[in-house]
Assembly symmetry: C2
Homo-oligomer: 253 residues x 2
């Protein structure tokens, strides 16, 4: 039997090609096969022209059968080629379903290594220039997501940290805002909503919990919602760059 | 008066040279001046051989006068050269004191852009192969730090998320463990403690909240503490690589 290859579980970051790590980019350039999510951008895949690229997974939620099929594909490929990359949007260890894949690979006796990526929340904080922590204002941050399953949604507690970041927070953000108001957070608590962070169609909106409770309208990509007093704007803060900075990086790269 | 330069606030990530982003590395290679923390590694500074490198800040906590001096240096340098980098360990927007520097630069009318970095928690999750979220086990994560000021420490609430990550958690971790036990978390809740993540002297320890409450002994670098059921090891998980994977990357680079 041939020696087994190795799998690298790599975080691609939020989408812009130059927001992957040097380590991630180097491994992509050496990969034989790259299994990637729909959230991984075309420009990111340009970093591995030599590799066989396979789209796996769904944009919003995966059936467990789909996950089992991804696991099987990983195991199958690493029996055939030396370097298999599993490329995920954001960071693999935060809302990335890494546990299932690590478990499957380990049970099959396959060597696996994880390369971290820029998680969406930190790219969003950078793009909006809103630090998630702030001396005297915010010393704790929670990243959370809400189940869309009706039996879960009502029982999900919203964390009690100073700053809150809701991943995949489009439709669910209304319920979050309502529950925060019911829990006594001030209606004028500032909120930043970011869609398609770091991509050419990045869109940043600023509002309050009270306005968030009225809904966000249609979203055209992954939505991240950041809440809390740390989201308050600074007196000399400029917002000119918010829409265009992602585009500028595309042109400059 | 000469046209002003631009300041980039860049996250260096946890320490390994290849865990900075491509964007961060490219800007470092173009920088005229780089003002960096003590947490930024020597190997990271090799990415900007052409730049004037200035060490600012302290390892553990900064006096506000020190922060004001950093702000002043940033403003002074950007009046003299076109590209000034402020390089911070981890990510600038998470426990990075970015607010003070953004404020000072904006008040001086200086253009500033933020480039995210791999925050220590995600590097630690990757190194230990412990996802911070896990289907059916953990859907929320909090990142927090404790004040060392005695008047603060007692009133700090510990967030109620499924997974907890304490930054700069060396001495303070004992108090955290005690309070979590008092709040009813199970004594056998798994804990992962990581020192110097991604560096050649990376050290990973696995324990429970009960053992954490007895203290960690001497630490030789930045300590991160991760807690919660997501830290439970998998049945076929291997720990061979934990101590040596950081070294392997150093040799391979």
């Amino acid at each position: 039997m041939a020696a087994l290859g190795k799998v690298y579980l790599i975080g691609a970051g939020p989408g812009a090609q130059d927001l992957i790590t040097l380590r991630g980019a180097r491994l992509l350039a050496q990969a034989d096969v790259v299994l990637h999510d729909a959230l991984v951008t075309e420009e990111m895949l340009e970093l591995c022209p030599q590799a066989e690229k396979i789209l796996v997974g769904k944009r919003c939620g995966q059936l467990s059968t789909a996950q089992q099929f991804i696991n099987k594909q990983l195991v199958d490929h690493v029996h055939k080629v030396p370097l298999v990359v599993r490329l995920k949007g954001g960071d693999p260890m935060l809302f990335g379903r890494a546990d299932e894949e690590l478990r499957a690979l380990e049970e099959a006796g396959i060597e696996v290594e994880v390369v971290p990526g820029i998680t969406t929340a930190l790219a969003a904080a950078a793009a909006s220039k809103q630090p998630l922590t702030k001396r005297g204002v915010s010393r704790s941050v929670a990243f959370f997501t809400s189940s869309t399953a009706p039996d879960h949604a009502e029982h999900d507690a919203i964390p009690d940290t100073d700053t809150l970041v809701q991943y995949m927070g489009g439709r669910e953000a209304i319920a979050t805002a309502e529950r925060l108001l019911a829990q006594g957070r001030k209606p004028d608590t500032p909120v930043v909503v970011i869609e398609n962070v770091s991509r050419p169609d990045q869109h940043i909106r600023r509002m309050t919990i009270a306005t968030l409770a009225q809904g966000l309208g249609a979203a055209h990509g992954p939505v991240l919602v950041m809440l809390g007093d740390a989201m308050k704007t600074r007196s000399h803060q400029s917002f000119d760059s918010e829409i265009n900075s992602a585009i500028a990086h595309q042109l400059r790269a």
